[in-house]
Subunit: 185 residues, 4 copies
């Protein structure tokens, strides 16, 4: 049985990426997937410094995040796009985690999705996150990435998507990701 | 049993990417992997045009390439980097293949490697190829990518690498890729 | 007085990038800018091969393209996005041109725009073209890039944009580019 | 007369990017360029949150950074590459600055360089920083980017480069950047 972590890489209370990850949670639970939702705010490490690392090792919240990864089989990140790239907030966490040995990302299955008020839906940001997590850190990124454009108008009041076809696709992606995790772990 | 295709994305006779793919072949055969080497020159399609496609469908060599993909379980590409990106030559083939339905790249396992006379070893080009093959076309890219820098000095006269540790790593990557293929197919 | 070349990097007759470049031409002429429209089909070189280059030098159409660049002060490219990246067709031309010495792109002002039926409007492809033309070849890319999403619905029957605000922005970009060209040449 | 800011985007005392920016300073002073060195540690803002921004506006150190930009004519950043991308530390600052109105990066001249112990020299990271600063934020990035590979071995004890040709090229880049600034401001 696979256990999947979910995290929205936004600190804003009313973040559309939180809404997206909540929908992933709801769809996952309907499909009997074991999930655990992480709160990004719990993993706010200081900005990376080689001197801090040398003196104190990895900050406690980074270690906690790594322990969460070890205790699960895969991770879904819903990430905003900031300035056509990975948010500095998320990148700082990824940079810290990449310093642990053995490197926690190696062969770790990750599904990336994004929500954005813009029409492009955040996919440029995800491309940079793929370069970091997969190409530099050797994580297994699940290929179909889900980008939700026009996100401020996309949700119903109960947290579903207005566009039912799109929601069905997201549900299929989640099942596909769990299958990917089971095959690769 | 997995069958793996190998192709160097260079048209030059004396290409260092051909040397690299030949080494992949040699290491693969030593490890009893079933391989087939493709000659990139056999798949030189006309530059992509939507009008050609509409009138004549996919060019014959593109169809042959797709048939090769279907007849095997995975593909290793050794690609040069041209101007920090995917070579136009390779990209034109990838663009054509992406027009077939069902899209042949979906869930297709691909291992990328590169050789380059520059020290950077071609890894910037591979990052763009990942964006195309994985993020746009949903192929399964094997995460460790192998970049060989300073490639004009890297090979011995019998086609091995001067750096034996590096060659061992390449051998491990090939085994790892075959394992990745078996798990995902 | 600056002379500006315009080219749509598509071979399709009914290309939305041709419509976009025609609109750039119309807006440019209204603003008394000296322009010359190039036909991408005139610059269809063979797929790049180091052996062809060594034997025959640069193909004639590549040399013609370079002569066009020298005879003008800047270039506007309207490019489709193929598979989240630069089209192989355009990339093959850029790869050939990058082999000329002195390298024609160095300090050459280029404005990039894109039209795409997708909502994202082709901006992922332009990011890769920036990596090639500016970061690898040292061209001066004009920073505001213009991406037209939903392009099949975007034009009126006389070739203007339905969205007049967007058209005004495109007109301002063209003037801004001419100013950029004049300052840098 | 142009005034140029210099900043190494690293918090480590013994950072090779600090050594690189110090060399830029030395070469700039020899060429009578007015420079001001910024200490990245002075601009360590909290991780970006839309809620913090809404409640308190931009953090004081971000405002100070923006005031520095306004008081000068161009900026040189020497940045490490973290995981094939922009460091989260630098990206967080860029993300904050991008929230100011008018956006401070628009038409602001920036020269990017990088030092890295790896052979690739950090150029993959700079490509992502170009996407952010130029393509998203409309800064004017000076095209030749300077990447110093093998950086732990690259400096002499007095802070020059062992490779005198490379140092000469860096000196020329700085002069070229000042010329670029003067033309565009």
């Amino acid at each position: 049985m696979a256990k999947i972590l979910l995290m929205a890489a936004s600190l804003r209370q009313d973040s559309c990426n939180k809404k997206l990850i909540n929908l992933v949670a709801k769809l996952g639970i309907e499909q009997k997937i074991e999930i655990e939702q992480l709160d990004f705010a719990d993993f706010i490490a200081p900005l990376y410094s080689g001197d801090i690392e040398e003196k104190n090792g990895l900050p406690e919240m980074v270690q906690t995040f790594i322990a969460k990864l070890k205790d699960a089989d895969g991770l879904v990140i819903a990430s905003p796009e900031y300035n056509f790239s990975t948010p500095g907030t998320l990148k700082n966490l990824l940079d810290w985690v990449s310093r642990a040995r053995p490197m926690p990302w190696v062969k770790y299955p990750v599904m990336l999705c994004s929500a954005s008020p813009a029409l492009a839906g955040g996919s440029r940001g995800l491309l940079h996150t793929v370069a970091t997590l997969q190409c530099a850190c050797n994580a297994y990124i699940y290929p179909p990435m889900f980008s939700l454009g026009n996100a401020y108008e996309a949700f119903t009041s109960d947290g579903s998507l207005q566009d039912k076809e799109l929601e069905k696709r997201l549900g299929k992606n989640i099942l596909g990701f769990v299958d990917f995790v089971k095959k690769l772990r």
